[in-house]
Protein backbone atom coordinates (compact mmCIF):
# COMPACT_ATOMS: atom_id res chain seq x y z
CA UNK A 1 0.00 0.00 0.00
CA UNK A 2 1.33 3.33 -1.01
CA UNK A 3 0.44 5.83 1.70
CA UNK A 4 0.02 8.43 -1.01
CA UNK A 5 -2.68 6.37 -2.74
CA UNK A 6 -4.62 5.85 0.52
CA UNK A 7 -4.35 9.59 1.19
CA UNK A 8 -5.63 10.36 -2.29
CA UNK A 9 -8.62 8.03 -1.77
CA UNK A 10 -9.58 9.52 1.61
CA UNK A 11 -9.12 13.12 0.45
CA UNK A 12 -10.97 12.56 -2.80
CA UNK A 13 -13.98 11.14 -0.97
CA UNK A 14 -13.90 13.96 1.57
CA UNK A 15 -13.98 16.43 -1.32
CA UNK A 16 -17.12 14.78 -2.70
CA UNK A 17 -15.47 12.66 -5.39
CA UNK A 18 -15.95 8.91 -4.84
CA UNK A 19 -12.88 6.75 -5.49
CA UNK A 20 -12.25 3.01 -5.62
CA UNK A 21 -8.99 1.53 -4.36
CA UNK A 22 -8.37 -1.65 -6.35
CA UNK A 23 -5.96 -4.14 -4.76
CA UNK A 24 -4.71 -7.48 -6.04
CA UNK A 25 -4.69 -9.59 -2.87
CA UNK A 26 -1.90 -11.88 -4.12
CA UNK A 27 0.63 -9.33 -5.36
CA UNK A 28 -0.48 -6.34 -3.31
CA UNK A 29 -0.40 -4.16 -6.45
CA UNK A 30 -2.86 -1.31 -6.27
CA UNK A 31 -4.57 1.38 -8.29
CA UNK A 32 -7.01 4.14 -7.49
CA UNK A 33 -9.89 4.28 -9.93
CA UNK A 34 -11.95 7.45 -10.21
CA UNK A 35 -14.69 8.57 -12.51
CA UNK A 36 -12.50 9.28 -15.49
CA UNK A 37 -8.98 8.02 -14.76
CA UNK A 38 -6.81 5.73 -12.65
CA UNK A 39 -3.35 5.79 -11.11
CA UNK A 40 -1.10 3.29 -9.34
CA UNK A 41 1.05 0.22 -10.03
CA UNK A 42 -1.76 -2.26 -10.77
CA UNK A 43 -2.77 -1.97 -14.40
CA UNK A 44 -6.47 -2.79 -14.26
CA UNK A 45 -7.87 -4.17 -17.51
CA UNK A 46 -11.13 -2.91 -18.89
CA UNK A 47 -13.27 -5.46 -17.10
CA UNK A 48 -11.68 -4.55 -13.75
CA UNK A 49 -12.12 -0.83 -14.37
CA UNK A 50 -15.73 -1.61 -15.26
CA UNK A 51 -16.16 -3.56 -12.01
CA UNK A 52 -14.64 -0.66 -10.06
CA UNK A 53 -16.96 1.88 -11.68
CA UNK A 54 -19.90 -0.45 -10.95
CA UNK A 55 -18.84 -0.68 -7.28
CA UNK A 56 -18.69 3.13 -7.17
CA UNK A 57 -22.15 3.39 -8.69
CA UNK A 58 -23.52 0.77 -6.28
CA UNK A 59 -21.78 2.45 -3.35
CA UNK A 60 -20.55 -1.01 -2.29
CA UNK A 61 -17.07 -2.53 -2.02
CA UNK A 62 -16.58 -5.83 -3.85
CA UNK A 63 -14.29 -8.84 -3.96
CA UNK A 64 -13.83 -10.14 -7.52
CA UNK A 65 -11.97 -13.11 -9.02
CA UNK A 66 -9.60 -12.35 -11.89
CA UNK A 67 -7.08 -14.43 -13.83
CA UNK A 68 -4.42 -12.83 -11.61
CA UNK A 69 -6.21 -13.81 -8.38
CA UNK A 70 -8.62 -12.16 -5.98
CA UNK A 71 -9.00 -8.41 -6.28
CA UNK A 72 -10.56 -6.21 -3.62
CA UNK A 73 -12.39 -3.12 -4.84
CA UNK A 74 -12.82 -0.74 -1.92
CA UNK A 75 -15.21 2.14 -2.36
CA UNK A 76 -14.32 5.41 -0.64
CA UNK A 77 -17.49 7.45 -0.49
CA UNK A 78 -18.06 11.06 0.39
CA UNK A 79 -19.08 11.21 4.06
CA UNK A 80 -22.68 10.99 5.12
CA UNK A 81 -24.08 14.43 5.79
CA UNK A 82 -26.47 15.81 8.38
CA UNK A 83 -28.15 19.16 7.90
CA UNK A 84 -29.58 20.47 11.16
CA UNK A 85 -32.02 23.33 10.78
CA UNK A 86 -32.24 25.39 13.94
CA UNK A 87 -29.18 26.14 16.07
CA UNK A 88 -31.19 25.38 19.20
CA UNK A 89 -30.07 23.62 22.38
CA UNK A 90 -30.75 20.11 21.02
CA UNK A 91 -28.60 20.91 17.97
CA UNK A 92 -25.51 21.26 20.18
CA UNK A 93 -25.27 17.63 21.38
CA UNK A 94 -26.76 16.38 18.08
CA UNK A 95 -23.99 18.05 16.04
CA UNK A 96 -21.29 16.53 18.28
CA UNK A 97 -22.78 13.03 18.37
CA UNK A 98 -23.44 13.01 14.63
CA UNK A 99 -19.82 14.00 13.94
CA UNK A 100 -18.70 11.04 16.10
CA UNK A 101 -21.03 8.80 14.11
CA UNK A 102 -19.31 9.84 10.89
CA UNK A 103 -21.54 12.62 9.57
CA UNK A 104 -20.31 15.88 8.12
CA UNK A 105 -22.65 18.25 9.97
CA UNK A 106 -23.96 21.65 8.91
CA UNK A 107 -26.11 23.66 11.30
CA UNK A 108 -28.38 26.12 9.50
CA UNK A 109 -30.09 29.03 11.24
CA UNK A 110 -30.69 32.51 9.85
CA UNK A 111 -30.97 33.85 13.40
CA UNK A 112 -27.35 34.77 14.07
CA UNK A 113 -27.79 34.86 17.87
CA UNK A 114 -28.38 31.10 17.74
CA UNK A 115 -25.84 29.98 15.16
CA UNK A 116 -22.75 31.32 16.92
CA UNK A 117 -19.34 29.68 17.01
CA UNK A 118 -19.41 30.03 20.82
CA UNK A 119 -22.42 27.72 20.92
CA UNK A 120 -21.10 25.44 18.16
CA UNK A 121 -17.32 25.31 18.38
CA UNK A 122 -15.83 23.52 15.39
CA UNK A 123 -19.19 23.00 13.65
CA UNK A 124 -19.90 24.24 10.13
CA UNK A 125 -22.54 26.95 10.47
CA UNK A 126 -24.75 28.60 7.89
CA UNK A 127 -26.65 31.82 8.59
CA UNK A 128 -28.59 31.49 5.34
CA UNK A 129 -32.29 30.81 5.16
CA UNK A 130 -32.76 27.05 4.93
CA UNK A 131 -34.02 27.08 1.34
CA UNK A 132 -30.93 29.05 0.26
CA UNK A 133 -28.56 26.92 2.30
CA UNK A 134 -30.04 23.70 0.97
CA UNK A 135 -30.01 24.93 -2.62
CA UNK A 136 -26.28 25.40 -2.13
CA UNK A 137 -25.59 22.20 -0.14
CA UNK A 138 -27.74 19.95 -2.36
CA UNK A 139 -28.90 17.15 -0.06
CA UNK A 140 -28.61 13.71 -1.71
CA UNK A 141 -29.12 10.01 -0.92
CA UNK A 142 -26.37 10.18 1.70
CA UNK A 143 -27.91 13.15 3.52
CA UNK A 144 -30.15 13.38 6.59
CA UNK A 145 -32.14 16.55 7.32
CA UNK A 146 -33.53 17.43 10.76
CA UNK A 147 -35.56 20.54 11.56
CA UNK A 148 -35.56 21.71 15.16
CA UNK A 149 -36.89 25.30 15.33
CA UNK A 150 -40.67 24.71 15.68
CA UNK A 151 -40.92 27.91 13.65
CA UNK A 152 -42.78 27.32 10.38
CA UNK A 153 -41.01 30.14 8.58
CA UNK A 154 -37.65 28.48 9.27
CA UNK A 155 -38.61 24.77 9.31
CA UNK A 156 -41.05 24.66 6.39
CA UNK A 157 -38.65 25.86 3.65
CA UNK A 158 -36.16 23.26 4.87
CA UNK A 159 -38.73 20.46 4.80
CA UNK A 160 -39.86 21.49 1.33
CA UNK A 161 -36.27 21.44 0.05
CA UNK A 162 -35.67 18.08 1.79
CA UNK A 163 -38.82 16.53 0.30
CA UNK A 164 -37.73 17.66 -3.16
CA UNK A 165 -34.36 15.95 -2.65
CA UNK A 166 -33.38 12.29 -2.25
CA UNK A 167 -32.42 12.80 1.43
CA UNK A 168 -32.54 9.34 3.05
CA UNK A 169 -33.91 10.75 6.31
CA UNK A 170 -36.11 13.72 7.14
CA UNK A 171 -37.06 14.48 10.74
CA UNK A 172 -39.05 17.34 12.24
CA UNK A 173 -39.14 18.22 15.93
CA UNK A 174 -42.52 19.07 17.40
CA UNK A 175 -45.53 17.53 19.11
CA UNK A 176 -48.14 15.50 17.26
CA UNK A 177 -50.30 18.62 17.17
CA UNK A 178 -47.48 20.70 15.70
CA UNK A 179 -46.81 17.96 13.19
CA UNK A 180 -50.46 17.75 12.08
CA UNK A 181 -50.50 21.51 11.51
CA UNK A 182 -47.22 21.21 9.62
CA UNK A 183 -48.53 18.53 7.28
CA UNK A 184 -51.59 20.65 6.59
CA UNK A 185 -49.34 23.53 5.50
CA UNK A 186 -47.25 21.18 3.35
CA UNK A 187 -50.42 19.81 1.75
CA UNK A 188 -51.24 23.37 0.72
CA UNK A 189 -47.84 23.43 -1.00
CA UNK A 190 -48.90 20.39 -3.01
CA UNK A 191 -47.24 17.60 -1.04
CA UNK A 192 -48.98 14.23 -0.70
CA UNK A 193 -49.21 11.37 1.78
CA UNK A 194 -46.24 9.64 0.14
CA UNK A 195 -44.18 12.75 0.93
CA UNK A 196 -45.51 12.94 4.48
CA UNK A 197 -44.47 9.31 5.03
CA UNK A 198 -40.85 10.41 4.53
CA UNK A 199 -41.01 12.85 7.45
CA UNK A 200 -40.30 11.44 10.90
CA UNK A 201 -42.44 13.57 13.18
CA UNK A 202 -42.48 13.80 16.09
CA UNK A 203 -38.79 13.21 15.51
CA UNK A 204 -36.75 10.43 17.12
CA UNK A 205 -37.17 6.96 18.57
CA UNK A 206 -39.46 6.89 21.60
CA UNK A 207 -37.00 6.29 24.44
CA UNK A 208 -38.62 8.75 26.84
CA UNK A 209 -35.84 11.26 26.20
CA UNK A 210 -35.94 14.46 28.27
CA UNK A 211 -32.61 16.31 28.10
CA UNK A 212 -31.24 17.79 24.86
CA UNK A 213 -28.53 15.10 24.76
CA UNK A 214 -31.08 12.32 25.25
CA UNK A 215 -33.26 13.74 22.49
CA UNK A 216 -30.15 13.88 20.28
CA UNK A 217 -29.58 10.16 21.02
CA UNK A 218 -33.16 9.36 20.03
CA UNK A 219 -32.83 11.33 16.76
CA UNK A 220 -29.47 9.81 15.89
CA UNK A 221 -30.83 6.33 16.66
CA UNK A 222 -33.69 6.92 14.22
CA UNK A 223 -31.35 8.25 11.53
CA UNK A 224 -29.13 5.17 11.98
CA UNK A 225 -32.12 2.80 11.90
CA UNK A 226 -33.23 4.38 8.62
CA UNK A 227 -29.75 4.27 7.10
CA UNK A 228 -29.25 0.63 8.12
CA UNK A 229 -32.83 -0.57 7.58
CA UNK A 230 -31.74 -3.38 5.25
CA UNK A 231 -29.40 -4.77 7.89
CA UNK A 232 -31.82 -4.68 10.80
CA UNK A 233 -34.52 -6.46 8.77
CA UNK A 234 -32.18 -9.28 7.77
CA UNK A 235 -31.18 -9.65 11.40
CA UNK A 236 -34.78 -10.01 12.50
CA UNK A 237 -35.30 -12.67 9.85
CA UNK A 238 -32.17 -14.60 10.88
Amino acid sequence: MKLELFKRAVESAAAGRPAALVTNLISGLQSLVQESDFEGNLNPDESLIGAARQALADDRSALVETSAGKVFIEVFNPPLRLMVVGAVHIAQPLARMAALTGYAVTVIDPRSAFASTERFPGVELSAEWPDEAMARLKPNRRTAVVTLTHDPKVDDPALIAALRSHAFYIGALGSKKTHTARLKRLAEEGFKDTDFARIHGPVGVDIGAISPAEIAVSILAQITATLRADRSKSRQAA
Binding site: M1, K2, L3, F6, K7, A9, V10, E11, A13, A14, A15, T23, L25, I26, S27, G28, S61, L63, K70, F72, E74, V75, F76, P79, A99, G102, Y103, A104, V105, G122, V123, E124, R235, A238
Partner: protein, 110 residues
Protein backbone atom coordinates in the same frame (compact mmCIF):
# COMPACT_ATOMS: atom_id res chain seq x y z
CA UNK B 1 -14.89 21.92 11.28
CA UNK B 2 -12.16 20.05 9.49
CA UNK B 3 -13.65 17.90 6.77
CA UNK B 4 -15.01 14.76 8.33
CA UNK B 5 -13.12 11.83 6.85
CA UNK B 6 -14.34 9.30 9.42
CA UNK B 7 -12.41 6.23 10.58
CA UNK B 8 -10.32 6.11 7.40
CA UNK B 9 -9.23 9.68 8.03
CA UNK B 10 -8.14 8.84 11.59
CA UNK B 11 -6.18 5.81 10.39
CA UNK B 12 -4.58 7.76 7.55
CA UNK B 13 -3.53 10.53 9.95
CA UNK B 14 -1.96 8.05 12.39
CA UNK B 15 -0.22 6.06 9.65
CA UNK B 16 1.14 9.30 8.16
CA UNK B 17 2.45 10.37 11.56
CA UNK B 18 4.15 7.01 12.15
CA UNK B 19 5.74 7.04 8.70
CA UNK B 20 6.88 10.62 9.33
CA UNK B 21 8.64 9.37 12.48
CA UNK B 22 10.42 6.77 10.36
CA UNK B 23 8.42 3.85 11.79
CA UNK B 24 7.40 0.77 9.83
CA UNK B 25 3.63 0.56 9.39
CA UNK B 26 1.24 -2.17 8.22
CA UNK B 27 -2.42 -1.83 7.31
CA UNK B 28 -5.08 -4.55 7.75
CA UNK B 29 -8.41 -4.30 5.91
CA UNK B 30 -11.51 -6.51 6.15
CA UNK B 31 -12.14 -7.60 2.54
CA UNK B 32 -15.05 -9.99 3.05
CA UNK B 33 -17.39 -11.17 5.77
CA UNK B 34 -19.86 -14.05 6.27
CA UNK B 35 -22.54 -14.25 8.90
CA UNK B 36 -22.67 -11.83 11.80
CA UNK B 37 -19.19 -10.37 11.64
CA UNK B 38 -18.64 -7.49 14.02
CA UNK B 39 -16.95 -5.11 11.55
CA UNK B 40 -17.97 -4.41 7.96
CA UNK B 41 -15.97 -4.79 4.76
CA UNK B 42 -13.47 -1.94 4.58
CA UNK B 43 -12.87 -1.78 8.36
CA UNK B 44 -9.19 -1.10 9.02
CA UNK B 45 -6.46 -1.44 11.58
CA UNK B 46 -3.01 0.14 11.30
CA UNK B 47 -0.08 -1.07 13.37
CA UNK B 48 3.43 0.34 13.79
CA UNK B 49 6.63 -1.63 14.26
CA UNK B 50 6.31 -1.47 18.08
CA UNK B 51 2.87 -3.07 17.99
CA UNK B 52 0.96 0.15 18.72
CA UNK B 53 -2.29 0.11 16.73
CA UNK B 54 -5.35 2.15 15.79
CA UNK B 55 -8.71 0.99 14.43
CA UNK B 56 -10.17 -2.51 14.44
CA UNK B 57 -11.05 -5.36 12.12
CA UNK B 58 -13.22 -7.45 14.44
CA UNK B 59 -14.03 -5.66 17.64
CA UNK B 60 -11.37 -7.57 19.55
CA UNK B 61 -11.61 -11.22 18.50
CA UNK B 62 -8.71 -11.50 16.09
CA UNK B 63 -6.79 -8.24 16.56
CA UNK B 64 -3.91 -10.04 18.30
CA UNK B 65 -3.28 -12.34 15.34
CA UNK B 66 -3.72 -9.52 12.83
CA UNK B 67 -1.17 -7.38 14.67
CA UNK B 68 1.32 -10.30 14.60
CA UNK B 69 0.85 -10.63 10.83
CA UNK B 70 1.18 -6.86 10.49
CA UNK B 71 4.53 -6.92 12.27
CA UNK B 72 5.66 -9.74 9.94
CA UNK B 73 4.54 -7.74 6.88
CA UNK B 74 6.50 -4.69 8.11
CA UNK B 75 9.62 -6.91 8.24
CA UNK B 76 9.32 -8.88 4.99
CA UNK B 77 7.02 -6.66 2.90
CA UNK B 78 4.84 -9.61 1.86
CA UNK B 79 1.10 -9.00 1.70
CA UNK B 80 -1.06 -11.64 3.42
CA UNK B 81 -4.68 -12.67 3.04
CA UNK B 82 -5.91 -14.10 6.35
CA UNK B 83 -9.01 -16.19 7.00
CA UNK B 84 -10.64 -16.16 10.40
CA UNK B 85 -13.56 -18.26 11.46
CA UNK B 86 -14.71 -16.50 14.56
CA UNK B 87 -16.20 -19.41 16.45
CA UNK B 88 -18.32 -18.88 19.48
CA UNK B 89 -15.76 -20.76 21.55
CA UNK B 90 -12.98 -18.39 20.50
CA UNK B 91 -15.29 -15.50 21.06
CA UNK B 92 -16.08 -16.56 24.60
CA UNK B 93 -12.38 -16.84 25.35
CA UNK B 94 -11.96 -13.12 24.85
CA UNK B 95 -15.36 -12.22 26.23
CA UNK B 96 -17.01 -11.36 22.91
CA UNK B 97 -20.07 -12.82 21.25
CA UNK B 98 -18.91 -12.67 17.64
CA UNK B 99 -19.63 -15.61 15.36
CA UNK B 100 -19.23 -15.43 11.58
CA UNK B 101 -16.13 -15.39 9.40
CA UNK B 102 -13.90 -12.65 8.07
CA UNK B 103 -11.09 -12.32 5.55
CA UNK B 104 -8.43 -9.72 6.31
CA UNK B 105 -5.78 -8.38 3.93
CA UNK B 106 -2.55 -7.26 5.59
CA UNK B 107 0.01 -5.14 3.73
CA UNK B 108 3.02 -2.98 4.47
CA UNK B 109 2.54 0.78 4.10
CA UNK B 110 5.21 2.30 1.88
Amino acid sequence: MATNTGDNGDILAQATQWRGQGKGVALATVVSTWGSSPRPVGAKLAVDDTGAFIGSVSGGCVEGAVIEEGLAAIKDGKPQLLDFGVTNEQAWDVGLACGGKIQVFVERVE
